[in-house]
Structures are given as structure tokens and as C-alpha cells.
Symmetry: D2
Subunit: 322 residues, 4 copies
């Protein structure tokens, strides 16, 4: 009989005041189910960093309103990610906070009709008063757009360039993803930018931009992204959620010579409905997006819990973060 | 005591040779759980059509490779949808079949490393030989792009216009979504088009397009979409899956005077992870995207099962489809 | 290259007034994702019946309150199942309706504190007034228990015998699972019977039963179940939901010479959390519970939608049901 | 406008070497989504313990094979739970390890037919060689059963008594749940005991037990459980997974004067399929099982990750655990 199994499961041993990484090490000893997957993710992320991979970070789901923006900002500052691919909404809500706005703790057990009358927008258990949205996002971002319009007359911008120009014009907020991305020159790709409040606000300026001869070109970013991927010795994908960021990061390795050497995804999406968000990382191997020998793991669990744990444990191992 | 409940649950009564709509009527009699939700969705879709709402249809998940493209094509032909918002991938795979390619029945129980060696790309239990991808999508779409480049030198296109130009150049495939959308003048919005194989193929032509002075403008479509929404007497959202199509359809009603009077979503995504895909339709009421009095239902189930049932039952009620 | 894929996906073709089985045949043509799984389940169920397998039917989740009890009753009458394994709750709510009670259509969007004040018990979107529970279940079942106590003094009963005695004493309700199981001599196993309102009502009689020397013996049913399994030429498992019924049906084939030749499960539970409810049917092959050559499929979707479809399509194929 | 929202979301601030409870406090500052729920669970568990509630602990899913048995054993030793309600399987696998057996780290990416040929039983990514099962569970538990048979001739046992007798006869394994439950007199309820390998092994002895006049009485435990509940000043429910343990714990408060003052559930099951495992804790309020003023929270996430975190953080707060 071949030795087709590994060492035995060792029960987790908890101690008061144990650190996050000590807990992860206990989870590694058990090695099973979600705990085993999370422990493996920490190992892979540590290796990505030690082996100096270019790390493509995908961000979807309402992570910045949920309080994860400082973590992403810290990853940028500590050079723990190299490239950011995000949904539009995550950057919108980051900008709102950079301009001094806040998201509020609410509840999912609520009558949305009442919220509508009080002009409060709900994101699961987060509340955003419409007045905050208007004063801390809509108005200031329009001013930013107008500045960009003046500076780039007659030119064609990629979405990445557009995000950089926004980051440049934000108040210096140390917790802001977009401000820090600008400051530390981490490119930010937002492939579906029109599908967000950036798009809705641009609507007011579309005519003006057109007159000014500015176009934000849909396809322009791809070259830059592919060059980053193809010019790196090792590539790692670190994906929170799924959606466009996951697909955009992985598809870049489809028709090219490059592929990912490491991949981590934290998601609750599952494969059987056939969407790419929940597709296994093994599936990406068939396409050549992730290479056959890559270290890869999907943590099938809540990102607001597992992503902070992953980062805290990895920081502890590398002495990063402070 | 107030009458806070409705009529009692009547057990489903099955009969051999019952039609799909007869089954749905039995599900309505029970009225509970998923069956009740699906039956309610049929009622709402029927009402959307009878009351002549403009119907915004969102399509995400790998629905065209999974064999649902003819259904969407039939919805277009029978005027059962007015506007299509799709992921890029769904249109890519529709184009592949329009050019004579096929998707193959495979299995999810497979070694992806072997598939990679045989150059077969996997989408859950669908297999696509790489040779098919190259000969039936990559090459013919490049020819289409080159034709567009010649015709539109020096101009700025919206993504919707770009999709129209693609549809115009497809072989006349009666099962094709994009061909029928072109033929029947149903606008197709693909907000994240660069996040698909359209994007990957455009990469080769980016320089050429730039020299030709063509830009596919990221923000251009929004005006057209918002006008469609604001100029309709009644608006309905019919959403298969979630993702960018769901958000794009709903966000348009956020800062505008318009809102949706009917909304149906078929998805397995759930709200607690905070992503918009799984957010309840009630949440959209707080934002004013769906209006307070709207008929709305989320069918929390597999779209490849429930979407065909929804369409078949509605066709039966309206005598549409043949 | 080996022929590792099957025929190509053929798009579903919908027609008004198509029957449920005609729809299933279209789903078989596509063969993908949930639709493909459901179509395969119909094929397997048809084969189980044509090849005269002993069919072990597992029922969990609140299926009888949700209006599926007549379907199960019809399966019994039409000899489409041989053995029933159920949660206690499904039988409790079947008994409640047999005694003339009803479940009511409610809503999941409700304040449960208010419901509590109005004495209405909620099961997702089903409401049960406490008065109905008391008058149509608690009181009549106590009378039934008292009759059993008189008849079985000094004896030891298995749970299956106990369920038979209950079925015998129900009003003749043609829609009732338990009444029809009694009438058609289909054994009903309820391994966790104390974990239901049967248990709560028995609590009042525990002392009386003890004085009468009656014991409902926890382990007695196993022999009968194992004999049914081991004496059949072919065994099929048809499982709605998961839970104790799934485990009880499958475990019987663990340490014995028998195993299942066919297996279908309809569930939304997933394997990664490690529970048996969501475990793949492949996993059961490793244990020898399902044999290596068995036809098996998991339909990962809402049972209130898929179970009626499965039964209606199979009845249509076999001309059963009326 | 009423003050319908609370304080604003404060972004999580990660530090290397932070303890588990320090991380939880950051999650509390954000307060959203899964992180917010988990932080609230720690608060509620802390309060349950400080306010000396009787804590009914439910355990389902394959938690003991996955390495969580020492945590449960520690909860017993530290008086952090008062009563255990478990699936049979969790106790079976605890016994297997108490007798010196092990579970092995495997993988979910495996051919189950091969495993079957090598006689390895799979539980998601855990492997159990059949030889281990036979020598470390089947044989020693039969000896235990034979001893019980000799001691209890002519008597009727409850399942709880039966589990106590098993615990008494285990080797003194400090990591064992059942051994520690026996040692520290924590009652163990296993309502569906026959639905486990205890049942399968008892099958061999059923005739012998019958001859000896022993019956393990299905309904006997309910009185003891209800007395524990009704005689406590405050009751807390701490539920890992769902299934029979969840229902059994909650149903006890249905028809009685008692109810739960605190409730925590960690599960990935969702309410819309109508099963009790995924039902919201709010639903239990309508039935009067959880009282209206109770502190309650459902952590909708992987238990192998969240349960160790919950326990470690609570131990840290209370200085328990060492």
C-alpha cells in the first residue's frame, strides 16, 4: 500500500494570550477543513513574500466600508502587495472616508422602507446616511474629476492612470488605500470602474470630458498589466472575494507565457453554480493561468474574519507591520 | 389579533405530463421556501410583460457555455427583454458558438493537470479544447476587431456600440445572443468588457487602435443606460446571477429620479458576506434603487434550473415562444 | 489524445406548454451545472424503478410543512419508494395536518418578537399558530400515545413499530405520509425521534410508560434496516436534504456486505465544512457505502423546487401517478 | 430623525504578535459582517460565563476528527460548558482516539475508488484507515458494550447514562471529550446515537442485550434535560454546527416555562432552504425557545476557524485555560 496520507491530525491546543500566529500554528497541526486551509494560506503568503514574488491583490465585496481599508493600506506601505485590482465600490468607499466621511454600524434586521425614508443606504449591516454620501463623496470627487479634466485635455487615459490621479488629489489619509497606492506607486486597476459611483458622478461630466477630448480608454490598461505579469520572475495572486478582480488577475495569464506560481483566494462562493468567483483554483490550472506546480489554496470562509488573520499571522512571521 | 398570515399551505399535487406552468401553479399553492419564491418570480415576470415595463436583463455566471444562450436569444426575439447587461465571458462564449465552435460536456471530477496537458480549458463540468478557442474565437474576433478599426478611425465608441458592431459581423446564428441583439436592436452593455477574452484579444490591437485614434470609452455608455431607465414608464430588472450586471442595472437608479418597479434575481449568493451579488433586494430599497412598492423576489437557487423554468412558464402564460 | 470529453452542449430549447419531462430532456441536452445534475437524477431514479431496486428514501428539512407531504404520500402509493427514513419534525407536521391542522403562508421578513406575542411559530416563511399546534398535534398525539401504552404494556418497541402504531391511529388522510406508510406497509425509521415534538409530548408520559414497562428501544430498528438492505438485489438511496436520514441510510452499508447501487441527493449543503450532510457521494464510495460502479448524483439546489421536478418527470416517464 | 445607527466603523488595526483577543477587539471596532458577528459572539460567551449561566453546548459536523476534541475537553475541565449535546459520530471519533487511534491528514482532491481499494475512509480531507477503525474503535467498544451488558442486566438506561458508562471505561485520555465528561460529570446527550458507529456495533449485541433485558430507552433522557433547563437561573446555548444537537437544545424550551437567555451558533447553513440547522436565531424567538431579550448571534462561518478563536479569546478575557 502506498503511503497516501500524511501525518496524523494533532488536536488544537489553545492557550490564553496566544498570538494570532500561534493559533495558526495550532490550526496547521490539525490541518483539516477550513482551519487547515487557512493555515496553508499563511504558509503560502509567507513564501510569496520571502521569495519576492510580484503579488497581484484582488479586492471585491464591500471590504473598505467594513473596516478593512487600513489593512490594505498597510499591505501597500509594507510592500506586502505589488498591484491592486479592485471593484469600483471598494475605492468609492475608501475615497468617502479619505474625504472625512464615515460608515456606520447598523443591523441587517431592519425595515429598508424606513431606511429609505430616513435616506440611509444599507450595505448588509452598515449604514451610510445619504448626506454623508453627497458631502463626502459626490461633491469632492466631482471637483477631482474637474481638475483631471483640466489637466488631461485632448489625452487618452487608462483607468489605472485615472485612479492614480484621484489618489494624488485625496487628503493625506494614512488609512486610505487609494492615497497610499498613489504615494507608494502601487498601480490600481479597476476594470469595471463605470460600474460604481465613480461612473455615476462621471455621468454629469461626460459631455464636458467629451468636449475636452478626454477619453478614459477601456482597453488601455491591459498592456501594463500583462507587462507586470510577464516581467516578473515569480507571480502570486492573493484574492479577497471573487468577481471581476479575480477574473482579471487570472485571465492575464491565459494566453500569455506567464502564469501564477502561488495563489490564495478567500471566498464563500462555490464552484457548482459555474461562476468564476467560486471556481476552484484547480480549474485555473487547466487553463494554464495557475501553473501546475503552484502552491495554491482556497479558504472557503468569511473574508472579514480570515483576511485579517492571514495578514496578522504573516506580519508576525516576517516582523512586518510595525 | 391581526390577520398576519395568509391562506394555508396546500400540498403540491403532481400529475404525469403536467406542463411547466402547471407545476409552477402547484408551487404557488404551497407558497413556501424556494418553490414559493420561484412561483412568485413567474407572477412578477408575467406582470412585467403585461404591464409593458422596460426590462433590464442581467446575465452573469457561465450561462452561455452551459446551454442557456438560445433562451436569451428567444427572449430577445419575443421582446421579453429590452436591454441586456452581461459579463464579458458570456458574450465571448456566445461568439465562439456563433463562429461554429462548441462547448463539450465534461466532468468536475477530473485532474486539471491532465486537462492542461491535453490543452482543454475547464468551466466546472464543461470542457473547451484550446484549439476550438483559437480557431472559433481568437482568430475570427481579431478579424472583426480589424474591420471595426477600419470603420471607426478617429472616433470614440461606447462599449455598447462596440458590441453592436461585433453582433453585426457574426454569422447569422439564430441561437446567438449577440447576433439577435444586433438584429433586434436590443442594446448590450458589458461594463467590464476588458475583463474577458475580448480584452485579451484587443491587447494585440491596442497599439493599432491607438494609432487609428479609436478609443472605446469607459464612461460613454452610462448616459444611454440612464436615459433608457428614466424615459420608461415602468422599469423591471430580471437578473440571472449577480456580479457587475446586477450592480450596473441597479446603480443606475441610485442617484436618479428613476427606480425599478419590479425586480427578480436568481442567485445562490447570500447577503452575509457583504457583497452586492448576494445582497437582498430589500437592501436595494434603502438606496432607492428598487422602489418601496415594487414587486420583488430573489430566487435563491441554481440559475441553470430556475431560469429555464421561469421562462418556460411565462411563455406558457403569454402564449409566447412559438 | 484520449477522448476525454463527451458530446457537445446543445442549447436548451424551450416551448410553451412543454411538460416537465420535456424540460428535463432539454436540460439533459445541455448537460451542465445544476441542470445537468437534475437531468441525470431523473435518469437514475427512472433506472432505480425499472430495475426494481429497494429504494431507501431520506427526508429532512421542513418538507412536510412546506407542502411536499402529498408527493411523499404519492411515492408510497405508487411504490416509488420502499423505506422511509425521516427527521421527527417532518412526521410531526404530517400528523398535525392529518388531524386537520394547517400551516400558513407567512413571510421571512417579519419581527419574531411580534410573532411570539401573537403566539405564532415560524419556520422560515411558514407560520403555525400555537393554538393549531396544541389542538391538532399535542392533544391528539397524547391520546394516541395513551392508546399505545395500553396496548403494549410490558413490551419493548422499536421506533419503527412506534411510528407504525401512530400511522394506524391517524384519521384516513390520503395526503398523509404516515397514514399511507401504515396503509401500504412502508416502514418509517425516525432515528432521532426524541428530537422532535413527539419527544416533547412523550415527556408527559415517560413516567406512565415506565410504570407500564414499555420501552421504545433506541437500538432495536437497526436489525430490521440492515436486513432490508442486505436482502435486496439492488439498493437505491434517494435523499432529500441531509442530516440523520442521509447518514442513517448510508451508514447501514458501512460495515456490511451490502452497498448502494444508485444514489441521489438533493441538498444545498456543501462538503467543505466537513459535515456528512454536504459530503459528496464520492466520499461515500471510499467507505464502501455506495459501490464503485453505482450511478450517483448530487443535485446541489433547493429541494422544494427540484424534488417535485424529479418526481413529476419520473412519473411522466413511467406513466405512474394517475 | 431617530438615531437609528450606532457609532461609525473604525478600521481594523493589525499589529504583529497581537493576541487572539486583541484581534477580536479590532473586529469589534469594525463591527461589520462576519468579523462583527464573531466579536459579538465573544462578548456573549464572556457574559454567559460571568453571569454563571448553565451552558448547553451543541456539537455537530466532524469536529473531533478535525482536531477540535481537546478544545471541547478543555471547555469541560474549565467549566466553560455545563451540558454536551452531540452527534454520535463526534463521540465515535473521540473514542477512537481515546483508544489510541488517529485520524490522518489527507486531501479532498482524491479518487475515492482508489481509497476504497486501499480501505481508507474519507471525511473531506481526513483519512481513516479501516484497520485503525477496526482495532481502535470496533473491537474495544464491543468490549465496553459487553461490560455494560453485564452490569445493567434487566435495567433500562437512558442514552446519557449509556454515554457515561462508555466514558467511564475509556483509557484516561486528557484530550478526550467523553473521558473528561465522565470525569467532570458533564452529562452527554446523543439523541441520535443509533445513527453512528455506536449503533452499528450495538447491532451485533442487540440480541444479547435483549436476552439480558437491557433497553437503551429513546425517550428517557428528555426529563433530565428539561430539568437541567428549568432549574437554572440563566440558560445559554453555544452551538457548533446545527443538526440534531441544535434542535434538541432549542426544542427543550418550546413547550416549557424555560427559555435561553443567550445563544450563539457557528454554522455555514442558511435559512432559505427551510431546515432548522440554518434557521436564524430570531426564528427561535417566535417559538419562545430563545427569549425576546436574549443576547444572540449567529456566526455564519467555518467552525474549525471560528470556534477556536471564540474559545481562545474568551479564555484570554477570563484568564481561563491554564
Amino acid at each position: 500500500m502506498p503511503k497516501i496520507y500524511k501525518e496524523h491530525v494533532t488536536p488544537l491546543n489553545l492557550k490564553p494570550k496566544m498570538t494570532v500566529n500561534e493559533l495558526i500554528k495550532e490550526m496547521a497541526k490539525s490541518g483539516c477543513f477550513g482551519a487547515g486551509r487557512l493555515a496553508e494560506a499563511v504558509d503560502i503568503y509567507e513564501r510569496m513574500l520571502r521569495e519576492k514574488a510580484t503579488i497581484f491583490f484582488g479586492l471585491s465585496g464591500a471590504m473598505t466600508p467594513a473596516g478593512l481599508r487600513k489593512i490594505v493600506a498597510d499591505l501597500i506601505k509594507n510592500k506586502m502587495i505589488s498591484v491592486l485590482v479592485s471593484t469600483g465600490a471598494n475605492m468609492v468607499h475608501d475615497v468617502l472616508e479619505a474625504f472625512g466621511g464615515h460608515h456606520y454600524k447598523g443591523t441587517w434586521l431592519v425595515d429598508d422602507k424606513s431606511l429609505h425614508r430616513y435616506e440611509i443606504d444599507r450595505v448588509y449591516d452598515i449604514f451610510i446616511p445619504e448626506t454623508v454620501f453627497v458631502s463626502k463623496f459626490d461633491r469632492p470627487i466631482l471637483d477631482v474629476f474637474r481638475e483631471i479634466e483640466k489637466e488631461y485635455r485632448g489625452q487618452s487615459l487608462g483607468i489605472k492612470d485615472f485612479m492614480f490621479e484621484i489618489g494624488k488629489r485625496l487628503p493625506p489619509d494614512e488609512n486610505s488605500v487609494l492615497y497610499n497606492a498613489y504615494k507608494h506607486k502601487v498601480p490600481v486597476f479597476v476594470p469595471a470602474i463605470q460600474d460604481s459611483c465613480f461612473g455615476l458622478q462621471m455621468w454629469e461630466l461626460v459631455v464636458k470630458f467629451k468636449e475636452a477630448g478626454i477619453a478614459v480608454d477601456t482597453f488601455k490598461d491591459l498592456s501594463a498589466f500583462l507587462e507586470l505579469l510577464m516581467n516578473s520572475k515569480k507571480n502570486g495572486a492573493l484574492i479577497v472575494g471573487g468577481g471581476v478582480p479575480k477574473n482579471f488577475i487570472l485571465q492575464a495569464a491565459f494566453k500569455t507565457s506567464a502564469s501564477y506560481d502561488y495563489a490564495i483566494q478567500i471566498t464563500t462562493d462555490r464552484p457548482e453554480s459555474g461562476g468564476l468567483s467560486g471556481a476552484t483554483l484547480e480549474e485555473a490550472v487547466s487553463w494554464g493561468k495557475i501553473n501546475e506546480k503552484a502552491s495554491r489554496i482556497q479558504v472557503i470562509s468569511d473574508a472579514t474574519i480570515c483576511f485579517p488573520i492571514l495578514v496578522a499571522a504573516t506580519m508576525e512571521r516576517l516582523g512586518k507591520g510595525q
